[in-house]
Subunit: 337 residues, 2 copies
Amino acid sequence: MRSYNVAILGATGAVGQQMLTCLAEQDFPVGSLKLLASARSAGKTMRFMGEEVVVEEACDEAFDGVDIVLGAADNDIARRFVPVAREKGAVTVDNSSAYRLDPDVPLVIPEVNPEDLSLHRGIVANPNCATIIGLVAVNPLHRLGTIKRMVVSTYQAASGAGVGGLRELESQMARIASGESVDEPRAFAYQLACNLIPQIGGFDDAGYTSEEMKMQNEGRKIMHAPDLRVNCTCVRVPVMRSHSESITLEFERPVSVEAARAALSEAPGVALVDDPASKAYPMPLDTTDKDAIYVGRVREDISAAAGTYGLTLWCCGDQIRKGAATNAVQIAKILTL
Amino acid sequence: MRSYNVAILGATGAVGQQMLTCLAEQDFPVGSLKLLASARSAGKTMRFMGEEVVVEEACDEAFDGVDIVLGAADNDIARRFVPVAREKGAVTVDNSSAYRLDPDVPLVIPEVNPEDLSLHRGIVANPNCATIIGLVAVNPLHRLGTIKRMVVSTYQAASGAGVGGLRELESQMARIASGESVDEPRAFAYQLACNLIPQIGGFDDAGYTSEEMKMQNEGRKIMHAPDLRVNCTCVRVPVMRSHSESITLEFERPVSVEAARAALSEAPGVALVDDPASKAYPMPLDTTDKDAIYVGRVREDISAAAGTYGLTLWCCGDQIRKGAATNAVQIAKILTL
């Protein structure tokens, strides 16, 4: 079996670290492994399959001989190095938003549109975390009735802001617990512990944030649904690393709750957790460090107008895993097949 | 000026304590004051206007000579004592859900339907907290364009489960901060710290919780909108005492963002906090212990179908104050006019 020389760009961040774990969990055929990061992190070591690997500073030469790059860095770093990696013959699965809407770059959730992968020209984009989690949940229903419209409210975890976001929430909780005042926030614009922040990303002229528009822009591309309309409200909540989403769907054709549950129970990457009588429904604590997207609270949309077809549901998924690293390594693995 | 003999039924709970504060803040013309609670709390003292008041066990005789009862007890206690108080000539403003949908009982938010108060026959019901907070925010827009449909996702604070809910969240945060495991939850079905619980109340056959149906059932009565359709998803979040709501509205007639903002900026009980460019939007920490409902993130619903008129907004309000005690004391004050 062929093995592949892998580089993780941004290896020391929350997503980069998780990618390393996912490579091992998914039995990825790793030949050599390079852990690339900023100069600040160079020289640190990280463990992979029982061995210590030294983190190197990212530079053009670092991509020599690399087959697959897993990109876990910000947009500017991605724009700096992804073209270099492609030039040198590597394929990058990039978790930044830099290339997601580029028509030459497939944007892929393996459970939804794996067929798009074959069109890549050296770059595959990994979708936004909230987009992945929401679409893994709703795509099985899209196949049943064709989704026309989604109204989504998100409950997004601290990990979306990386390790700094996680540490900030932990530190704030500890200070509140000991009766101290909370430090000036840095990862978030405001205190997150015991609070909610209804802004993720910058605002556009229509009053939507960049995060809110991703669900529609990326959703249309991933589900091949150019007319899909999505109204999203993205809210940061004091939860560590699982995003949750309250989603109301409008379909072109009727989809019964029973048919929806049946489809979800067989859908790849989905765990149907939907037994209200026994208080079984998705919760972010339960999906922490798990790859599956939990879906539940599936019910008819009682507000749907006569002649329209609506369902409402609730889903949760680990933002660092399926929302980022797991999805990227799944893509990389398909690329090796 | 006439004064009124007031009794608070359930005085020692989170809402009862807040009612006591609100009586003083709203300069309610209190003659005598009775603090009624269970036998367990009898003999405790609470302060009102600088004096110690001893808590008494609720019994039929306790309502002799009382003019106004503020009910802050559960449904079974309300059903036991509210008819007694009425029999003895008192008017009860009751915060339980026992009488809310009774056609003989006005269900009132003073900013929305004060005119209904004149129809009371000894009982006025105080609406559910999430209903009050949501309707104070959307009623000014209902007046502009007539709301046909609401899709609501709530972010509800621990205080909705009373003092026990608040203490449980505090205790869980302290244990997590010190690396200890969290005690078996009692106020909530599951751990709330660092988690979200998508169930408040029991489930009906359609898969909606009692809390979720209140927004439609109470909203129709309060706004005199019998055809209003509401799809609500109610979620408990690790926030102390302010509820937040993500609301998408569909109107019968067009309502522009500018007209909506103008109406909200003049609406009683509302604070318009809506300047995305300077990161100004409602947050639950900011509304804690405040009476106003903060409304922001007002924008066009970009998912609305052609020929339909939609807006989306975000609001926050203190659940114990305007969601319960403040609203009840406002009603009581109107009754004295």
